[in-house]
């Protein structure tokens, strides 16, 4: 294992962690709204949230490429106003990981929120608690295991992301090269033994994350 390998592993781990952190507030808000509220068009929102799970990752990547490229709606604005680029930078990796792993967090957290007895929240309100206080002292702690499991799943997904990442970030050595991109390139170059070494790391990381997630879920039903 060379220092470049460690750089790749380190980069993959911290971008995945950062993306998980990034989707946390938005994902929880979305999950809570889906669990507790109803409105016309709710099924459309549900479908959109689930799309990155079902669509081919490269297709999602293509949509992101068009949106965040310098000629796209969002990317164009960022480039013109702030000289800020997303495509072909580490920020694109962050974006790809976030979009692809968000549905997993939302699905797990939504189930967790739905399982919290709404009566508990109602009584808390009669005791004078504001909505925020109810969320942070009653809803979230009771849903914590499910949320935690969802976060770990999202993290594991982010670790392994490939299709959308290669579309919008490319595989730039030292800048956007993640474990999965590096493995792909090794295979392209015929460097199979190196690919297998990286693969080993990938498996260990993913296995740990998913195992912890399952553990949390099992504890909950005790």
């Amino acid at each position: 294992m060379t220092s470049e390998d460690w750089q790749i592993i380190w980069f993959t781990a911290w971008v995945a962690a950062l993306s998980t952190l990034l989707i946390l507030p938005f994902g929880l808000a979305l999950a809570w709204t889906l669990a507790r509220r109803d409105w016309p068009g709710k099924s459309i929102v549900e479908t959109f949230v689930s799309l990155p799970l079902v669509m081919p990752p490269v297709a999602t990547g293509l949509i992101l490429l068009k949106l965040f490229g310098r000629r796209g709606g969002i990317g164009g604005f960022l480039h013109e106003q702030f000289n800020f680029d997303v495509i072909f930078t580490w920020r694109a990796v962050l974006l790809a990981l976030s979009v692809m792993s968000l549905p997993l967090l939302v699905r797990s957290a939504r189930v967790a929120f739905a399982e919290v007895n709404p009566r508990l929240e109602e009584i808390a309100r009669t005791l004078g608690a504001s909505d925020w206080r109810v969320f942070f002292t009653i809803t979230a702690p009771l849903a914590a295991r499910g949320i935690g499991a969802g976060l770990l799943l999202a993290f594991a997904r982010a670790l392994g992301e490939f299709g959308a990442t290669i579309m919008i970030a490319g595989n730039i050595p030292g800048k956007t090269s993640t474990l999965s991109l590096a493995i792909f390139q090794d295979v392209q170059l015929g460097e199979d033994s190196h690919a297998f070494r990286l693969l080993g790391f990938s498996v260990v990381l993913a296995f740990t994350a998913v195992w912890c997630s399952e553990f949390l879920l099992r504890r909950k039903t005790k």
């Binding site: 990317g75 680029d85 072909f88 290669i166 050595p173």
Partner: protein, 250 residues
């Protein structure tokens, strides 16, 4: 009586056809996409054989052939990939021929105001990202890297490089506007209206670009493939290649 005769004819033709119409699998460099498609269309007018293409980076294609992918013909964008397969005894050396040449150009988006007058201009701060086919593996990227190494500019420019899967990917990156410039083949620039050539690399500065082709040893249709190989050697095919901007090396 007449019906029996008709039945005989139909069944003879029916059973004979599969023997006659072959599917020829051609693995070819991405930069050959448009020219080869036209040549194949021309060929298929006079033959019942069908040409199935697999276009991609020559490095990827070579790897696939190594792993046993069903190819009849390999048409690479550099000699090194062909050498690799020859060493592994995967191609028929008797059929190997260096057919085409090409040249490198620097392209920018059609609406860009960027000017390049030399390799050194690529170090300009206004160029933040340069798209190349992956310089570690893909011929177009390797050629571009050699060109820049020739001027000792590679280490500076390498930090700006966005490596793409194949040369058409580099072209697309320039078209999208997400990179300021790209180095591709002159023939690629020719097929895209969304980019313009701002600099043509003089042949003296660049390495020799050579496209070899050969019959794959385990070809499933060697007879039909050889026929197509001969056609690729013909003047008719040569004219089409020249039309797209390739040079002929024989």
């Amino acid at each position: 009586m007449k019906n029996k005769f008709l039945f005989l004819v139909v069944s003879l033709v029916w059973f004979a056809l599969p023997v006659r119409a072959a599917e020829i699998n051609v693995f070819a460099a991405a930069s050959l996409t448009d020219s080869l498609r036209q040549i194949a269309a021309q060929y298929e007018k006079n033959s019942s054989d069908r040409i199935i293409f697999n276009f991609g980076a020559s490095s990827t294609l070579a790897r696939q052939i190594e792993e046993g992918a069903p190819a009849d013909i390999f048409f690479s964008a550099d000699e090194a990939k062909m050498d690799g397969l020859e060493k592994k005894n995967l191609i028929d050396p008797a059929t190997r021929k260096s057919r085409l040449g090409n040249s490198l150009v620097v392209v920018v988006a059609a609406d860009s105001a960027l000017q390049i007058q030399s390799a050194a201009d690529l170090t300009n701060a206004s160029i933040q990202k340069i798209a190349l086919a992956d310089p570690q593996a893909v011929p177009a990227g390797i050629y571009a890297k050699k060109w820049l190494e020739h001027f000792q500019l590679w280490s500076v420019i390498a930090t700006k490089v966005v490596p793409m899967e194949n040369v058409r990917g580099a072209l697309a990156a320039v078209e999208s506007g997400n990179v300021e410039a790209g180095v591709v083949y002159k023939t690629d620039a020719g097929i895209s209206k969304k980019v313009k050539v701002v600099y043509e690399v003089p042949s003296a500065d660049a390495p020799v670009i050579s496209y070899p082709l050969a019959l794959v040893k385990d070809a499933q249709q060697p007879v039909a493939a050889k026929k197509f190989l001969n056609y690729l050697d013909s003047t008719e095919a040569g004219d089409i290649f020249k039309k797209f901007g390739f040079t002929l090396r024989d």
